[in-house]
Structure formats: C-alpha cells, structure tokens
C-alpha cells in the first residue's frame, strides 16, 4: 500500500466515524432543544390562560373560545390533577398519516366548576425544520471532510514528490557508471537527510568498487612479470644439453601451462580495462570491413580444422563504437565459433541490416543460455578454453548497450550481435 493512501486511509476512517456519530447525536440534541422550547411555550400559554380566567363570566364564553381555537380542548373534569405534558398522534385526514402533537393538560376552575384544559401544538413544522437543519449540517460535514481529504492528498503528493524522485533515481542507479542519483531540493528536512545519506552511501560504495577494479587490474599487471620470468627460464631450460625425452615432456607441459596462465591473465586485464572504460575513443566502424579483417586472422586456424566458413554479406552495417572493443568482440565470437566447432564443420556468417549473425556447428545440444556469458564458464571438458571469451563479449555489450543473444536450433549454435540494442 502506498504511503499516501495509508495516511489518507486513517483520515478517512476518522472522518466517517465522526460523521456517523455526529449526525444522530446532532439529531437528538436539536430535537430535544426544540421540544423543550415547545414545552416552555405550552406552559406559558397555560399560565396566561389561568391568569386571565377571572375575566371570563360564564362557561359558555369559555366554550365559545375553545371552539374558536382548535388547539384548545375543554372538558369537564372529575377531580383535580397536576399539569402534564406529552406527545400525541392524531390522524390527518388530508395526508392519511399521523401527525405528532405536543400537548399540555391541566385543570382550571370556572365559576366553581372543574374543567380539564388541553392545549396542543403541532410538531410537524418542528420535524421539517429538524430535517432541513440536519440536511444542511450533513452536506456541510461531508464537504468539509471531503475537502480535507482532497487537500491532504494533493499536498501530500507534493510533499512526497522529492521522495519519489529519489526512489526513481535509486532504481536507475548503476554502480559501474556512478552517474549519481538525481535528487530534488526539498524544504523537508527528512528528505534532505535521506538524500544526503544516500549520496554518502553510493559514494562510499563507488570508492570500494573502484578499489576492487583497481585491484584486479594491478593484480593482473603484477602477475605479468613473474610470468615473464617463468617463460624466460623455460626458454633457457630448452637450450640446455643434453635433454632427455622425459625432460622435454616436462618442459613442454610447463610451457603450455605458463602460456595458459599468461592468456588467462591477459583476458582478466582486458576485462578490467573494459570495465575501467579504457576504450573511450568512438568512431564510425564499417562492420563488414571489421568482420573481413577478423576472419582473415582466423582463417588459417579454421582451415587447420577443415572448417568451412560461409559469408553472406547482404547489407552494409555501420555503427558508432570503439574500434578495439568491436574488433575484440568480433574476434571472440569468431574464435568461439571455431573453437567449439567439430572437425570438418561449418560456420555461417551473415550481415543483416541491423545485426550480425554467426552460426556454427558443434555439440548437438543447446548451451546453458543463462551461464554461457558468465566468467569462467566452460561447456564440456574443454580444458584449453579459459572461459572468458564470451564474458568479454558480454561485458563490452553491457558497457556499450549493444545486444548479444544466443540461440540453438537443429545443430546450429547462433550468436546474434546488434550494435543497436533497440
């Protein structure tokens, strides 16, 4: 649940509760007040009548008066009783309904005779008034609360805006680029603090990341010299005489291993250089030309394994990129197609309008798509491969936003490279 909705929900809950409680309470209070004032006026009327009784000469006069005013009823009473006030309902002929009346009943004495006098007062108008007041009141309350909610929602949205912006920035943040998180200046202290803390965090992480990268590069550099020493000693060992067959075998094994180590180290260096953005010059590259150049370098190797390379260049494909990187990328793909091919196999290379497709024969089963671009992943038992070629390809593609995809169909392993990832 969004924070905005969460705060608003509490307000809404409170408002509805108040509304539900306030309306009935209000109804009964107003009703009570109105009733009280009716009662008061009834008692006053009764008192006035009693005060003016002396002016009345005969019972007939009184009866006539009662007849004139339909709100007054006069009957003979048997005994004296106290005044009482009550609500009564009388049918209304016109509306076929019962209307509420408030009545006061009391005793009066005219010329020594005891009479019961009832004064009644219709409550219909009171009820109407009550209804109107209630309606107005309800509308007012609803407007008030609704307005409050809306205003709160709008202002919250505005207040939280920098937060959402920061959040968005964090989602887009990439450690390797360290473009920094774009934040909005805000008058809210908490958000400013958050942004500041975030900046410190990313800065610290970036420093650690840089150190790590630097370490990889330095480590690989430092390894070059010992590798050179070993290579030199092996070269000298090979010149010593006499050499037995057993010694030659040992020397060869040493040389092979050292060579592999040197290659591995070189690949690691290359990877860290790509990650350290050491290939920054951008120029226009004719991919057809670059591909031909790459193929020329590897043709001998393919020939040695009797692999046939078919080229279909139907389109010219140009791209903006770093020449060294693109050449490394292409030669790793071509090398890969040769290395994992079968003796006497085939390679098909196609240039389309938007991508380059390199297909090769090889193992009759698809490679593990999610792993092939990982560092040091090797398919099968190929110990000569160091497992960095495709990961270098992937690193270049990630850095430059190129697309690389792998697919397997009917014995063909296909790599598709698109300079434009869209």
């Amino acid at each position: 649940m969004k924070l905005l909705n969460r705060t608003i929900r509490s307000y809404l809950f409170y408002s509805i509760t108040i509304l539900l409680v306030a309306i009935p309470v209000f109804y009964f209070v107003v009703k009570g007040v109105l009733l009280h004032s009716v009662d008061h006026s009834l008692r006053t009327q009764m008192r006035e009548i009693r005060k003016n009784l002396d002016a009345i000469q005969s019972v007939d006069e009184l009866q006539a008066w009662a007849k004139m005013d339909k709100d007054i009823r006069l009957t003979h009473a048997d005994r004296v009783f106290d005044d009482k006030i009550y609500t009564a309902y009388y049918a209304d002929a016109k509306r076929h309904d019962e209307d509420p009346y408030r009545e006061i009943a009391g005793c009066i004495t005219v010329n020594g005779d005891l009479y019961s006098l009832v004064i009644s007062n219709s409550l219909v108008e009171n009820e109407d008034l009550l209804g109107s007041i209630l309606l107005v009141q309800s509308i007012l309350l609803i407007l008030l609360m609704g307005g409050m909610l809306l205003i709160n929602r709008a202002s919250s949205k505005k207040i939280w805006q920098p937060f959402y912006k920061t959040l968005d920035g964090m989602k887009k943040y990439e450690l390797s680029n360290h473009s920094g998180i774009e934040v909005e200046k805000t008058p809210v202290d908490e958000f400013n603090e958050l942004n500041q803390a975030l900046k410190q965090l990313t800065d610290r992480n970036y420093v650690v990341y840089l150190n790590q990268r630097e370490f990889t590069e330095n480590a690989a550099h430092e390894l070059q010299t010992p590798l050179a020493i070993i290579q030199g000693k092996i070269d000298l060992l090979l010149q010593t005489e006499p050499l037995s067959e057993e010694q030659v075998k040992l020397i060869n094994a040493l040389e092979e291993t050292n060579l592999r180590l040197a290659k591995l180290n070189k690949s690691l260096l290359l990877l860290s250089k790509i990650e350290n953005n050491q290939f920054s010059e951008i120029e226009e590259i004719d991919l057809r030309e670059a591909l031909s150049k790459t193929l020329d370098q590897y043709r001998e190797l393919a020939d040695a394994r009797k692999i046939n390379i078919e080229e279909h260049y139907d389109n010219d494909l140009r791209m903006q990129g770093n020449r060294v990187q693109v050449e490394i990328l292409l030669s790793n793909l071509v090398m890969n197609a040769i290395r994992h091919n079968v003796e006497g196999g085939e390679i098909k290379i196609e240039i389309h309008s938007r991508n380059i497709v390199i297909r090769n024969r090889g193992a009759n089963e698809p490679l593990a798509v999610e792993k092939i671009f990982n560092r040091f992943y090797k398919s099968g038992q190929d110990s000569a491969s160091i497992g960095l070629g495709l990961s270098i390809v992937k690193t270049i593609c990630d850095r430059r936003h190129y697309a690389i995809a792998y697919d397997y169909r009917e014995g063909w392993h296909t790599f598709t490279f698109s300079p434009d990832s869209n």
Binding site: H221, E222, Q224, T225, L227, A228, I229, I230, Q231, G232, K233, D235, L236, L238, Q239, L243, E245, V248, K249, I251, N252, E255, E256, N258, L259, A262, K263, K266, S267, L269, K273, Q278, Q297, Y298, E300, L301, D303, A304, R305, V324, S331, N332, M335, R339, A384, S385, G389
Partner: protein, 224 residues
C-alpha cells in the same frame, strides 16, 4: 655489439642476459633508474632494453632524455602494460619496438637483432648461411643468386629461425611470433605445421641441406 638491459626484476634480467650472451652480445645491466641514466649518459649502445616501471623513476623518462641528447641507440620497451595508449606513447617518444611481458626470449632476441641490423647495415643488409642468402632490405631469399619463392609467413618464419640460429624454438614461441597478439585465443597451433613443412621442403629443394631440424616433441632448430 653492446646491449644495455634496464630491468629491476633480477631473475628476468638474468634470463635475458644468459640468452643474449649466447648470441655473442656484450650485455650491461641496470636495475634502477639512476644506474641506467649514468650508463646511458656515458656510453653508446647498439640496443637498450627498457622496462617502464623502475625503482627511482619511469623508464619513459630515460627514453625522453636519450632522445633529447640526440643519441641514436636502438630502444625496445619491455613492459607489463599492453594498452594501445601505452604502446603509442612509447613509440611516439622514439622507441623502436614495444614488447609486452611475458615474452619468449627468442622473440626478444629476434627483435633486437632486427633493430641492430636495420641500424648497422642500412643499405646492404644481408644474412648469409652457407649458400643461403637472406636480403633483409628486399625481403628476398636466394641460393646462388637463384631466388626461392617464399610466402610472407614462410619468410617471417625463416627469419625468426635464422635470428635464433642453433637455438631450440618451441612451437608455442613460433606460433606466437607468426600470429602476433591474435594468438591469444588459439588453443591449437596446428596451422604452423603447414608453413613449416612448406618452408623446409623449399629450402631442401634449393640447397639440399637440412637447415631446419625438427626436434620431436620440442620444436625446431635452425642449424648452421
């Protein structure tokens, strides 16, 4: 011929000296910036091998100084750094060659020999082994004034073997020399056999002498 080797790593220095002495080069060594500078100021060398990272200073500064004094010593930079920029910078400063560690001693020797020969015998640069003559300027090979038709790869191969004559060269060293830095991804050097076979056949046919010996399991040797 005199060579100065500037390298702070003792064991690498020893190996280089040991290999080059076998080629009858007179080797002097310097293990830090200041020794190197003194030697370079006082003497002239046919070739200087220069490491870039040295105790006491940067090898490239030595190169700059050398060029400022208008000395003509040949210079090969031997460096652990192999970025294009480092390479270009070294060559721009006037180095003749740039070799990245780790390297084969035979490769180093071939490059030193090439530089010295280029400097010493500018117009008339010819190697002679018995009846075989290699004209380095024209890049041709002849036997008794009769040209032997070699491909570019075969010529490179012959030159590499000749520069390291009477040395055992492993097939890895040969493959790396032939393919240059592209050999990184290679895990089979089968392709050198074809070149080697053709070269041997052509030389045999022209001279009837076995210049190139295959040493089973070890590599090849150019024997004179």
């Amino acid at each position: 011929m005199k060579i100065l080797i500037v390298e702070d790593e003792e064991e690498l220095l020893n190996s280089i000296v040991s290999y080059l002495q076998g080629e009858n080069y007179l080797c002097e060594t310097a293990k830090d910036f200041h020794t190197a500078r003194q030697l370079m100021e006082s003497f002239n060398y046919d070739c200087i091998l220069l490491d870039v990272t040295l105790p006491g200073g940067n090898g490239l500064a030595l190169l700059q100084q050398l060029k400022a004094e208008q000395k003509t010593d040949g210079v090969i930079i031997i460096s652990a750094r192999d970025s294009i920029n480092d390479r270009i910078r070294g060559l721009d400063l006037g180095a003749d060659d740039y070799l990245v560690k780790p390297f084969h001693l035979s490769e180093l020797n071939a490059r030193i020999t090439a530089i010295i020969r280029r400097r010493r015998f500018e117009g008339h640069n010819i190697l002679v082994y018995h009846e075989l003559t290699i004209d380095l300027s024209a890049r041709t090979v002849a036997v008794a004034n009769k040209m032997i038709d070699l491909t570019r790869k075969e010529y490179d191969l012959l030159l590499y073997l000749a520069y390291n004559k009477n040395r055992v060269l492993s097939k890895n060293a040969i493959a790396e020399h032939l393919s240059g830095s592209e050999s990184d991804g290679f895990d089979s050097f089968d392709f050198i056999y074809t070149h080697m076979k053709n070269l041997k056949r052509k030389l045999m046919k022209a001279t009837n002498r076995e210049f190139i010996k295959s040493l089973y399991g070890m590599g090849y040797k150019f024997e004179v």
